[in-house]
């Protein structure tokens, strides 16, 4: 049970099924036992309505390599049913430290830059529930702090976040709900 404005921290050793749990939360993987409810309804019965409220960020960046950063972000925003305002993408990219790279092909970016572009999807998303799989991995200290601030702002607006992480990262001054997975 996760309330609006709270975040769930899924902890556990490697290979214990954190990613699988997140994929179940998204409705990608079937739930073996138990149920996942959203607004008191099982997510299987809501389908697209639930997905409209959802933004998932997995291990994969979901960026098409032979398109530019801008094209990629416009497309993922379109999948969420919105078109960004002119200039919005530029400011988000600048905020994530990859400013001015909008017209570059994704394949010309470094791994770290790709990850930042992928994370900037969050800022463009209208979803209330963020599901993040290891978002802090391979980020420098500044990046981690900025992402934590972004999540904190999301929570402050009444959003929800479920995330996994190796390291403990404070998100604003909001204590997490903990979920420790054991084998």
């Amino acid at each position: 049970m996760l309330e609006a404005g709270r975040w769930l921290y899924v902890a556990g050793a490697n290979g214990v099924g954190k990613t699988s749990l997140l994929r179940m939360v998204c409705g990608l993987a079937p739930v073996e036992s138990g149920q996942i409810l959203w607004n008191d309804q099982p997510i299987q019965s809501q389908r697209d309505a639930y997905r409209q409220d959802l933004c998932y960020l997995g291990h994969l960046n979901a960026l098409q390599e032979s398109m530019t950063v801008n094209e990629n972000l416009v497309f993922t925003a379109a999948l969420g049913g919105v078109a960004p305002e002119p200039g919005q993408i530029d400011s988000v990219l600048a905020h994530f430290g990859v400013g001015g790279r909008g017209e570059q092909l994704v394949r010309h970016l470094s791994q770290g830059q790709k990850r930042r572009v992928a994370l900037s999807r969050l800022a463009l998303s209208q979803a209330r529930l963020w599901v993040l799989d290891e978002p802090f991995v391979a980020m420098d200290e500044a990046g981690v702090r900025m992402l934590a601030d972004l999540i904190a702002a999301h929570l402050a607006k009444g959003g929800l976040t479920v995330l996994t992480s190796h390291q403990q990262v404070p998100i604003g001054n909001m204590p997490p709900q903990m979920l420790e997975l054991r084998a």
Binding site: S66, F75, G81
Partner: protein, 227 residues
Amino acid sequence: MKKLGLASVMLALLRREFAVALRQKGEVLTPLVFFVVIASLFPLGVGPESALLLRMAPGVLWVSALLAAMLSLQRLFATDYIDGSLEQMALSGTPLGLLVVAKALSHFLLSGLPLVLMAPVLGLQFGLDGRALGILMLTLLLGTPTLSLIGSIGAALTLGVRGAGVLLSLLILPLYIPVLIFGAGAVEADAAGLGFGGHLSLLAALLVLSAFFAPLATTTALRISLE
């Protein structure tokens, strides 16, 4: 931020597919060249006798078109599956069925339509006359979207599977047989004075049927592949 209608989302996907195709021209051109090469091999195999070639032409061109479609279908979802975009599509608020239709449409526009335009050139090699060429193009125009739609099922089923390319052909080619029969049969029926209207309406019926059922099956298959 501006809200987008479902049609605009489909359009955005189409635009994306075109942008990718434009930067990876080889992926679009290779199946086309393959089509030309396969069709040109037949006269070398059976000899240059014009009466025989004329009779074979519709069948040969149609079989080549099927094989060329196979070649491009392998990549319909594969890159999106590997880089995670497919996951995002499956998790978006847009119904996945619509995205699948847009994908199939882009496959038709990028690989089916060029075949339609290329066919008359190859038809001339086989000595088809203007009327036969017209009918052939018409059947290809009605038939290749069906190939894209049915093929998308196979492409979705074989995602991330060992030997996906060969497997895809084994799964999908038998399902293409009705399209092949009515497509290639139209020219022949017209030559025999039977008219080709029946063939065309049957091809259209297949198209409607596959437009209705194939996205359903593809969506199910994609969700299974993503589990």
